[in-house]
């Protein structure tokens, strides 16, 4: 009974926060509400017995996405000549839906209600008990080289999905760079407290990431969670004014970005030669291969996320040129 009450409250809380985030008149407020929404999502994952997802969501949905959105908002404010001083500096004139006849708006509401009803019906009509693929996964778990079924799916059974995911991350970086590239900014001094905080927290983050990566084999955790935590550490460092050395921004950076996808491809080709199957590991070596892949993937994910943040928050080359001359 208590559980029902809690779940109902959480469900409504999610819907309410989403509604407020999407419709509040102030963009800053909208983003803050969206971050709160991410935190509640993490709670929902725990309730749904998905601790692996909860870990990823906590690091990304609540942390990284919020940092990205706020950084972009700050630059947007500077760019569109809006006053950036106050929290309510981003009133959106078109926060209210743009002009549209009552008829078309009514039609939209009708269609959307119909689709909610349709989805609810579809969900309701599904059998309340279905094993899905869990039996298949359980049956082959012993051969996978790891004990955590989610890790087994990610790195072994559906390895090539994960490989493609790594390529998507790489494409995102390429896309962001092709919109203006990454500029080299000088380190800038920030508050001593923030610096101390980041100095103290970064090792903790690294330790936590290594721990997540290691336990990922048998317990909730793994490359994506570890990469997200490490990426969050990178964002914190960047926020506290740290900038990587120019030397590191060339090929070491590119190597780190491509390590994950590259490792998948190379290992895939290797297994194609050895086992005649793409990304099918020999059972005896599976554990070691997965650990290797996960480590490189962690590095790639972390660097990708941090670089995405740096690119979104620091702007394009033309602008930086001006900044450096000052």
């Amino acid at each position: 009974m208590l559980q029902w009450a809690f779940d109902t409250m959480l469900g409504f809380g999610l819907l309410w926060l989403a509604w407020r985030a999407l419709n509040s008149s102030d963009l800053f407020k909208a983003i803050v509400l969206f971050i709160a929404f991410g935190l509640l999502m993490a709670l929902a994952w725990v309730r749904l017995n998905a601790p692996d997802v909860a870990l990823a969501e906590a690091a990304i949905g609540a942390g990284l996405t919020g940092a990205l959105l706020l950084a972009a908002l700050a630059r947007l404010g500077a760019m569109t000549d809006q006053n950036v001083s106050g929290a309510s500096a981003y009133p959106v004139p078109s926060a209210q839906p743009p002009a549209g006849s009552h008829f078309s708006r009514g039609l939209l509401i009708l269609l959307l209600s119909a689709s909610v009803a349709g989805m609810a019906y579809a969900i309701w009509s599904l059998p309340s008990y279905a094993t899905g693929l869990s039996m298949d996964v359980a049956a082959h778990l012993d051969d996978s080289g790891v004990g955590n079924p989610v890790t087994a799916v990610l790195l072994n059974f559906r390895g090539y999905d994960t490989m493609l995911e790594m390529m998507v991350l790489l494409l995102a970086v390429l896309g962001v760079w092709s919109l203006g590239g990454l500029q080299q900014q000088p380190e800038k001094p920030v508050a001593a407290v923030l610096e101390t905080l980041s100095r103290f927290l970064t090792p903790v983050f690294i330790l936590a990431a290594a721990y997540l990566l290691w336990v990922g084999a048998d317990a909730p955790g793994g490359a994506f969670q570890a990469g997200s935590v490490l990426g969050a550490a990178g964002v914190l460092l960047l926020l506290s004014g740290w900038r990587p050395r120019v030397r590191l921004m060339q090929w070491p950076l590119r190597l780190a970005l491509t390590a994950g996808a590259g490792a998948f491809i190379l290992l895939g080709l290797l297994t194609l030669l050895l086992e005649k199957q793409f990304l099918t590991y020999p059972v005896a070596q599976a554990g070691r291969m997965i650990l290797l892949l996960e480590s490189l993937a962690t590095v790639s994910i972390a660097v990708t996320l941090a670089i995405l943040f740096l690119s979104v928050s620091s702007g394009h080359k033309e602008k930086s040129g001006k900044g450096e001359k000052k």
Binding site: L22, A56, G61, A72, V92, A172, F224, S228
Partner: protein, 102 residues
């Protein structure tokens, strides 16, 4: 049906809320938020349905899909934000034109 049904229902609600905002708002940042909310709704439905295989043995495949989905969503968001900033830089505002001059 168990509590998971509640979450699946909330997920479909989130999807539609996001879709509504995506259609109604002209500001790109809000559209990006809307797409993220839609994504969360889809993830919620997926994981809630994975819950059906019992208390102890949840289906790990949707979990794996959602984890990668979350990471891909954040990088897509970054790309969308970069596009938005480019748009703002070129046009002075981060708003999509209402009508595409017919």
């Amino acid at each position: 049906m168990t509590n998971a049904f509640l979450y699946a229902l909330a997920g479909s609600g989130l999807f539609v809320l996001g879709l509504h905002a995506l259609v109604m708002h002209a500001h790109v940042l809000r559209k990006i938020l809307a797409i993220n909310v839609m994504g969360s709704g889809v993830f919620l439905i997926l994981v809630a349905l994975a819950r059906r295989s019992g208390e102890t043995t949840t289906d790990p495949v949707p979990h794996a899909m959602v984890i990668t989905g979350i990471v891909v969503a954040v990088s897509a968001t970054a790309l969308a934000l970069a596009l938005m900033l480019k748009l703002a830089e070129k046009s002075g505002q981060a708003v999509l034109p209402d009508k595409h001059g017919d």
